[in-house]
Amino acid sequence: MRLNPLTQKKLKRFYTLKRGYYSFLIFAILLGFTVIGELLVNNRALIVSYNGKLYFPTYTAQKPGTLFGETYSYEANYRELKEKFKTEDQGNWILMPIVPYNPFENDFRENEKAARPPSLAQQHFLGTDTTGRDILARLFYGFRTAMIFALGFMAFVYFVGITIGCAMGYFGGVFDLFVQRLIEIWSNIPFLFIVIIIASIIRPNLGILLFITAIFSWTSITYYMRTGTYREKARDYVAAAQLMGASTPRILFQHILPNILSTLVTFMPFTIAAAITSLTALDFLGFGLPAPSPSWGELLRQGTGNLYAPWIVMSAFCAMVTILVLITFIGEAIREAFDPKKFTTYQ
């Protein structure tokens, strides 16, 4: 792919901003982890060697316990099997993921409380919550959900915001006036109430939450796009394109948009941070994803309600702070790299 020399310059500049660059790397690695999450955090074994045959249960259909010589027909408990194989010593072995728990299972232990502090021996690296679920597993899958939410949110908000904003700026006049009033009305609808009302009527899932959050969030983008388009529209190259008979969408998306997009790129990390915060806040208030979905807000709520188990709230809090700090660093670096004061196109 051949990049615009200006873009190349910006990327180089971003690379030199080490704080942002390393934050970006860490964040990218974390994102990469979530893609292969089932191989890292899961109660299903990576590899089972049983009676000379190899099994890879991670992505397959559920394997019943009977397959591995157990008496029950529900899903094999690989952690127990691993111990059993070890004591039997018949050459069978199991390789478990680093965190051998899934985010839903209750790991109760005889004579122990459900909420247990971090323990290497039990492989609960961040402890368990009040129903004995592994906190790291819930944090991890909560992060995945939050990122899906944030990326989906960003895509929706930018698509709608850019389209409407550009149209307003390009057509101007009555259309602009009318849509601006609509946006003013729309942005005054109290978003939280709508979410509360909807959550009390239907069971919200990720898609519904995403939709509700996004349809109340695209308006701010239109302001930037509208002014940007207004400015660019008056330039000669737009007039030239019009004279040459380019269609309106072509002028908007091929000519004008690339010139105003740099503003938006600097907003992106902050949009992601805002999306993560919104989802967490909704979950914290109890209007978010239905139980028992793993989510940060749910962990925070559980943690603040049970301060006797400080590891719950500490884990969620630290994870939240880490991710938001990373994103902020990335955002600042992008903003600096894209700062037109340094790379202005006009002399």
Binding site: Q62, Y74, T131, S200, P290, Y308
Partner: protein, 648 residues
């Protein structure tokens, strides 16, 4: 909570003992004050009575049967401790501000209703909370039963007055029927209960202090129908179609010890109830040791954990320790305030009809109408693990649809235990043989064994996740949906649920009421659709069960009722649409040392420590204790279990 509250009050309303309806005041009928107060309304009421002369009967005192055997319940023991002292302000929190001070109509079923009604008002007679099946006198001085004509004769205590000083008279009980039958109160259930023919057939006036109530048929616990409370006609002179809004914040004059003055209501913040110093019942045998505080101050604290902190600071006097977290983690036995004796921890085993915490399977839905699937679901629900882990082993498994009714509850029947193999066996009988890729069973048509599990109890969320995880082992998928109370109650009222978890608090009935919950009268409309707005949440619709319930309801023989009750419990167990959940055979209280309770702590049938208002303060012990806290003084550590009413 709303659900159970509603049901609680509904049940109170009818079959039983604590029928508490309305406080009120006397209508001033025949005395000259009646002319002063608008007679338009009184005239209207009078016309209403005259329109049904067979139900509202006016006779003279000479017509009163002579051979009646009058009882007064005064041989029963006192309630509370003779050591109780009067005085002080008791601080309590409420999670929400009540939405109305009315006792009936829209929003009147909130939890504050108990404070102003059930725990406060004096009715004609009350079920004695320590002596089963016996009543002590309230407004009625004495009563007599005519079993032949199923009529209860009552003589009012001439001293009885409302908090505004107006005496309680027979007419107020007539007005009770007038008001409760009125469509303006917007309470169809209440309308139905008080409609003549449902339970009551007539009310007869002999004089201002003597009247009788006639019930539809003879019942062993007939007297519980007389646990009525009057409605003060003089207070409702403006009663009409705007009742709901006109009386929204009006506190009806009460026969109870505490009243609410308009200046004591700070909307959204707090409510103060003040003890009426001239309360008519203050020296009476069953009331003299109770209602001891001068003021009850209710502060709105929306967050329970905040309320808990307020309690630890001494801002609240005592607290119910409902959740295991509070009891074991936030206030452990070695908590400094417990260790030094400032806060006492009490466990009290009570004996009451048990709230029916459990799953209700909508047996009218596809697949769920198959009994094998229902039985399979019974075996797939691991309530044992919930009781062990979530409730820390304190709770027990509920056994039947009607626990806690003494001999009327089934003596041996038990809920089906968690058993994956049995569950699979029953699911297989219904055609679900194969497990899908995710371990959930599928049948030949490719249908998955998957149902929604709805509920309105956010606080048990952790318990439900256990249920869901364990059910998956038996190849059953439960899709958990925790809603708010109003939505969830609407869902089951409209019978749109599949499997629903709800706990119904039941009144202090002598024997269980199966009709409401399990008779097809309340299950199916004539057009074959599920009947909305009834308590038959399982849509139990079985001819054999119907016939048994009909016999049970018509029976007036205690022994037969007992046998039938056991039989119906068994049949409902076989029908398997109700999955018994848990029961807490006790309640737990944490209190500051300055709050005193009787030696046996509380009465047998109490649901919570404040219900019968038997506690008191000694002088200014509160100030002394809080001072001692600063000086580092310690007291005797007190962690007590009162198990005199524990069974087994």
């Amino acid at each position: 909570m709303k659900t159970s509250k509603l049901r609680f009050h509904l049940t109170l309303l009818f079959i039983l003992s604590s029928l508490i309806l309305w406080t009120g005041c006397s209508s001033q009928k025949e005395d000259n004050s009646s002319e002063q107060i608008s007679s338009d309304f009184n005239q209207k009421v009078q016309t209403y009575y005259e329109a049904s002369p067979e139900n509202f009967v006016f006779k003279s005192i000479e017509d009163l049967p002579q051979d009646l055997k009058w009882e007064d319940g005064n041989d029963l023991p006192d309630i509370g401790s003779p050591n109780a002292k009067k005085g002080g302000t008791y601080y309590e929190y409420i999670p929400d501000f009540p939405r109305t001070l009315r006792y009936v109509g829209t929003d009147a079923n909130g939890s504050f209703r108990s404070e102003i009604l059930d725990y406060n008002r004096v009715s004609l007679i009350h079920l004695h909370p320590n002596i089963p099946e016996r009543f002590y006198p309230g407004l009625a001085k004495e009563w007599a039963i005519d079993w032949e004509t199923h009529t209860i004769y009552l003589r009012l205590n001439p001293e009885a007055t409302y908090s505004d000083g107006v005496p309680v008279r027979t007419d107020d009980f007539f007005f009770l029927f007038y008001l409760r039958q009125s469509p303006h109160i917007q309470a169809p259930y209440s309308n139905n209960v008080f409609k003549f023919g449902t339970y009551f057939t007539k009310i007869t006036k002999y004089d201002d202090l003597t009247f009788s109530i006639t019930i539809k048929s003879t019942k062993p616990d007939m007297l519980s129908f007389a646990a009525l409370s009057p409605v003060p006609q003089h207070f409702y002179q403006g009663f009409g179609e705007n009742f709901i809004t006109d009386y929204q914040w009006q506190f009806e004059p009460t026969t109870g010890a505490y009243t609410i003055r308009p200046e004591d209501v700070e909307k959204g913040q707090s409510i103060i109830m003040r003890r009426n110093k001239n309360w008519w019942a203050k020296d009476l045998k069953f009331f003299r040791n109770r209602f001891n505080y001068d003021k009850l101050h209710y502060e709105v604290i929306r967050d329970p954990s905040k309320a808990f902190e307020a309690f630890l600071r001494g801002d609240l006097d005592a607290g119910r320790m409902t959740s295991p977290e509070q009891w074991y983690e936030k206030l452990p036995d070695n908590h400094p305030l417990v260790e030094t004796g400032f806060i006492h921890k009490i466990t009290f085993y009570n004996e009451i009809p048990r709230p029916t915490w459990g799953l209700r399977i909508n047996s009218y839905q596809p697949l769920l109408n198959n009994r094998d699937i229902r039985i399979g679901i019974n075996y797939a629900c691991n309530f044992g693990l919930i009781n062990k882990e979530f409730f820390r082993g304190d709770n027990e498994r509920l056994r039947t649809v009607a626990d806690g009714y003494g001999e009327f509850s089934h003596p041996t029947l038990k809920a089906r235990p968690f058993d994956v193999e049995k569950a699979l066996e029953y699911f297989a009988k219904a055609g679900f043989n194969e497990r899908g890729a995710d371990g959930i069973l599928v049948n030949e048509q490719g249908q998955r064994l998957s149902f929604s599990l709805t509920t309105g109890y956010k606080r048990f969320e952790a318990a439900f996740t256990i249920l869901v995880e364990e059910a998956a082992k038996a190849g059953l998928e439960l899709k958990l949906d925790i809603m708010d109370h109003t939505t969830s109650f609407k869902l089951i009222s409209e019978k749109k649920h599949q499997i629903h978890f709800v706990g119904m608090i039941v009144g202090l009935n002598m024997y269980p009421d199966y009709w409401q919950g399990y008779h097809s009268d309340n299950a199916i409309n004539e057009d074959g659709t599920a009947k909305p707005n009834t308590n038959n949440f399982t849509i139990t619709n079985d001819n054999e069960i119907d016939a048994l319930i009909d016999r049970y309801r018509d029976s007036s023989d205690k022994e037969e009722i007992k046998q039938l009750s056991h039989l119906i419990s068994e049949k409902l167990h076989d029908y398997a649409a109700f999955i018994p959940g848990w029961v807490a055979p006790f309640y737990r209280t944490a209190k500051w040392k300055w709050v005193h309770f009787p030696d046996d702590f509380n009465v047998r049938q109490s649901l919570r420590h404040r219900e019968y208002r038997v506690d008191w303060f000694e002088g200014n012990e509160r100030e002394e204790t809080l001072r001692a806290l600063k000086t580092g003084k310690t007291f005797e550590k007190t962690i007590q279990v009162y198990d005199q009413y524990k069974r087994n």
